[in-house]
Symmetry: D2
Subunit: 383 residues, 4 copies
């Protein structure tokens, strides 16, 4: 992106009645509220199980690309290369299916350029051979795509990054068969394990791009083992529906203007309410326990990454998430952390994604929130 | 219970490694910390699914009664009549399997009699014919057992009640077959529906005993329909493992002394963090977002009742709990509310029970907490 | 359909790698093996949970209609009105995701007209107001649509019907809210219950069209109660993804020619292997326990409808399908009956659908198989 | 066991209403039909999920040992060392919860000694350190216990074995933590994976004892990799509720007499109906598709071991068991194979256990049936 003084980020957080329901976005496009070429990326939650056999993500993406194809002079497949669509399955508990449409608009604004305005960028890597899923090669590929997306966002200093959202491919039993038949190595014994390794690769890749870890420290052995290596701003999903690594970066840049602000915090553990509440304070929300109806209109997106503590304990008491044959551990943790964050935000349209391996502190995770600056903050922005 | 100036409530909140693990209680009994005849009731959470085919509750209860039989001159079956054991299945998300042993001890105390000390009482009704499950007859039977338990606790004014915990029998497909074969009415088409009706009967029964509703307003038609009729202090479970209605009342009485205090609040909805935080304030905890490690030692028990909002929405956004074929709605809501309450309490050993029909406001529920009085409060108690 | 001497049914049974995978059909269309206007209906199994929140059915249907729209001069929405697509979710156990494309082709054939050739027809009703779901009105609407589809198939005598496949709309928690808000009656307390009532309405509607039961015997009270009322050739699914009743009839007609034959049998219970084996005998397969690799090529489609016995027992022994909070009863029964039928057919691409209320005998169900006539039978057809 | 001419095996196959229900065995013991010291082992199916957090197995075992303690002059813990109780969780689909009580009785019999009479033996190994779970050490330990159990059964030639049932300990997240803290190796990343490795160790141990494989060919690398190494008569379960390896051998021996016979066959795949039907033929049942009500009384026990084909395909068609986040693969396969076997046997009280790694051919499994000899066969026994 060339430096421009009048570029602004806009976010439309929209609800869906089912994973194929794009009617709200369709209305906005039809009404001219936004134009399709302004869309940089889409991030959301669908009501699937969030696992290998969750096809709600693919369903939504398919419908989205077909919708955009009506407005852009490209095929759905071409658009999918340009506009990352990162859906996470699983709206356990109070969570509400929704999607956030991230836009970049060029317009005259009363607000002057600011070093605190939200900047966004997005890139897809080339398709990745399946034998690289969850390897150092995978991590390095993600690192390069993050650098490309930062350039797209006009963010030069990694310290200005607040959230790097990645969707990485995984293996399936079919793909594993193919690899084995070809005599290629398979690092993960099954599809679910490959999703964990792919998330690890994504997170370590982000950490390399941000400088949080050194590429020299990386080897296949540290994956899912050395959790001291992590990124404080990575949020990684993995799914059968992508063949490349999709990367969306969100941060701040003085090349951008407008009212949107972003903040993020690490969560020390799954019940770290202080960090959740703190990120709203960072954005200038009142210190009430819950964001009230009035301030809630400022909320534009909430992103959370979390993890069932691998030690099997939280604050010293045993939890049962890791030994459950009926409910997947990631479904458990999404529901619990979703309940906590909704209590603080007063809003259930939260992107909560499980599987926080190497993303934030071990057993914890991270939260990032995008909101309009408070009236007084915006005033400051003008002066 | 006769009025005695030196009776005190004590609560031991104990962990279990699996639903048959009573080792912590066994150690306490063996070491003489408590004696078996002091035990009034046991309430806890096991790591089952919380549904009809959750046998972890029965497993724990069986082991408990066998353990107590070694110390009391009674059979396990006789003890089960005297000592209600109300286990709720389901430790979704961050929740930790545990049980609270409620005791009544007679001892000399520096603390004088107080109208704020925790008082507890318990009673089991007679076995209930299955055709009455979820009917007005069921509710009236519970109402009488609540009155009996209040007498046992020395509580005369319903306003002094803070929590009435009930476990009520339900139907199974076998029992439904037997009823149908006998030409008897079956109000619930299946086992799961009968659990809901049984919970409704329990709640409405409590409300009659407390005077919150008038027996004349009760008919089978209001069950699960008219949610304006509810009790603000009822917490009802239903399960295949009980044949009678087990009732435990917790409140305050000037017939009791000691450091334990109880408070409760209604929850307006599943993300009502203010009520959760408020109940800790009521008990004199500091206003921090989360109860800190220091104060946490005062916590003796946390009871929560909650419900997936039947409107399908929370704060205006759609939730997906009611339409999920994979995860039971009650499992969803327990996990979410458990995450929220654990965030505030800093403690995951929470009794969170789903199915709050007629228990607290529609779509919400209630929270009750038992804690030792703060040092300054205890001082006040002495003066 | 006008009587024509050269109309033939053809069936392409195709596999899918995921619910959005139409590549096999796409290849056939592209290669000219079949043309889009020959397609009468599509029936298949997707790998969802088969419940309310199974969106794999909608995903597949959406992709199918978009694919056909490329070949037909209509919108996807218009095609959906003309070409019923009845997908059933749930490929438990050994079952394989697949879809059968039912075609009607006009061509010169060496085979003369035969009264044993497969005839197919399909119709969609008008959209049905949600308050009618699972009522007598619903049943009567289905009955009329069955009659229309019979006409489409050129079948005049109900005795010539072998399978009537129906997909009927159901309620969701949202739709129930809307109905209640409008003061309209809601016969089913929740979405899952409404699916059962909708299946009952569909089955009773078929039975009226076939004359198996008399419209005068129908009242809302018999639904899911009087299982003596049933159709021996009805197979009903219900799902959130349809707004009208989709009906496909399969039978025999002397207006059709070609090698395809159909047979069906009632299943007395879920382990009725004799009926399963018998239907293959009816079609001239060898008496081996399992259809061997050679004969397997003749198999064109297998349809099974089954039900977890509501008595809770099979051959006198208790089953646990009805009391399971973790796995839906319909998922249980599909997996079990699928295993049995696959053992006999040697083929796992079976349409097995649960929820056989009023479809075949109580506790049982039905099986229908379409296969090419054996060589000797085809010869007979010519003479 | 000393060679005795009058020792006979007896099997009581009993039903349970829930996992804690031993009432049928209690009645038999009370009525004197069998005496507690005749019980060699108990094998059964409980209605849990069959995974790590299936506590129905422990519940049943606890109740059984307490029941037997009333009749034997030993503690429950001592009896558990002498009488293996191998419960497998999961009665998916049509399967019925039940348990088979295997007895050894000494009595005068009209039947002379026969080399075809059922012989049974049982042994428990010493408790196994958790670091050995799923290793060569584990396998060698099982091999020795099998040899001990063969001696107990009076079986000297491995060719006379028909079924070796083993229950082996597994890891849990807690146990993994302990091992890691102690710096010990952990071969399985989680509890579920450790169950698979434990089953592999058990199967390979049996194969060494029977001579099917050579101990020299064993290394940790072949576990779950080289499936050419397998035992044709091993059936292994793994569970959190055992600390030692429990082994029950069933075969034939001329040291035993009586009417019971045993046969077993390998199953080539999950739909291998020919092997299922064949094992009944081996036992002299009529060639009907399903064992009829008359002959069914001869059935004493049915044991099946099966596996979701790791290639992801059955007879060339894709199955979805390996990629399902909602239902465990072992639950899928038990339900499907249970349906098939019940169709042939006409009886749903089948011990079907998933996880057949190294037990029977890859992707298949085995079936063993115990039945009374047919009248004509018993006559032959006398001559």
């Amino acid at each position: 992106m060339d430096a421009r003084t009048d570029v602004q980020a806009r976010i439309y957080r929209l609800s869906m009645m089912h994973p194929g329901d794009l009617s709200e976005l369709s209305s906005l496009l039809e009404g001219g509220t936004l134009t399709a070429h302004e869309i940089v990326a889409v991030i959301g939650k669908t009501e699937g199980n969030g696992g290998i056999n969750d096809f709600t993500r693919g369903y939504f993406t398919d419908r989205l690309m077909n919708l955009l194809a009506r407005y852009l002079n490209k095929t759905p497949e071409e658009i999918a290369r340009d506009v990352p669509c990162i859906m996470s399955g699983g709206t356990e508990g109070v969570l509400s299916p929704h999607y956030s449409v991230l836009c970049r608009v060029a317009e005259k604004s009363a607000l002057s350029q600011s070093d605190s305005a939200l900047a966004i960028g997005a890139k897809c890597s080339a398709d990745m051979p399946f034998e690289h899923v969850g390897t150092v090669t995978h991590a390095m590929m993600v690192a390069q795509t993050v650098r490309d997306a930062m350039k797209d966002a006009g963010i030069t200093d990694p310290a200005d990054l607040h959230l790097v959202q990645v969707k990485a491919p995984c293996l399936t039993s079919d793909r594993i068969e193919v690899l084995r038949a070809a005599g290629k190595p398979v690092l993960a014994p099954n599809a679910s394990a490959s999703m964990a390794r792919a998330r690890a690769a994504g997170a370590l890749g982000v950490a390399i791009a941000t400088g949080e870890i050194d590429a020299a420290d990386l080897s296949d052995d540290v994956f899912l083992r050395n959790f001291d290596l992590f990124s404080g701003c990575a949020s990684i999903s993995s799914g059968v529906e992508v063949l490349c690594n999709e990367v969306i970066v969100m941060g701040v840049s003085n090349a951008w203007s407008g009212p949107l602000r972003i903040a993020h915090r690490a969560m020390a553990d799954a019940i770290d309410i202080s960090s959740v509440h703190g990120v709203f304070s960072d954005l200038g929300f009142s210190p009430d326990l819950q964001v009230g109806p009035g301030e809630r209109a400022r909320l534009k997106a909430i992103f959370v990454k979390c993890e069932p503590d691998q030690s099997g304990h939280i604050h010293g008491a045993r939890h049962t998430m890791l030994n459950d044959t009926d409910i997947d551990p990631q479904r458990h943790i999404r529901g619990a952390v979703g309940g906590l964050v909704a209590g603080v935000s007063g809003d259930t349209r939260i992107f909560v994604s499980g599987g926080a391996e190497h993303q934030g502190p071990f057993g914890g995770g991270l939260i990032a929130v995008i909101a309009e600056a408070a009236a007084n903050q915006r005033q400051e922005g003008i002066d």
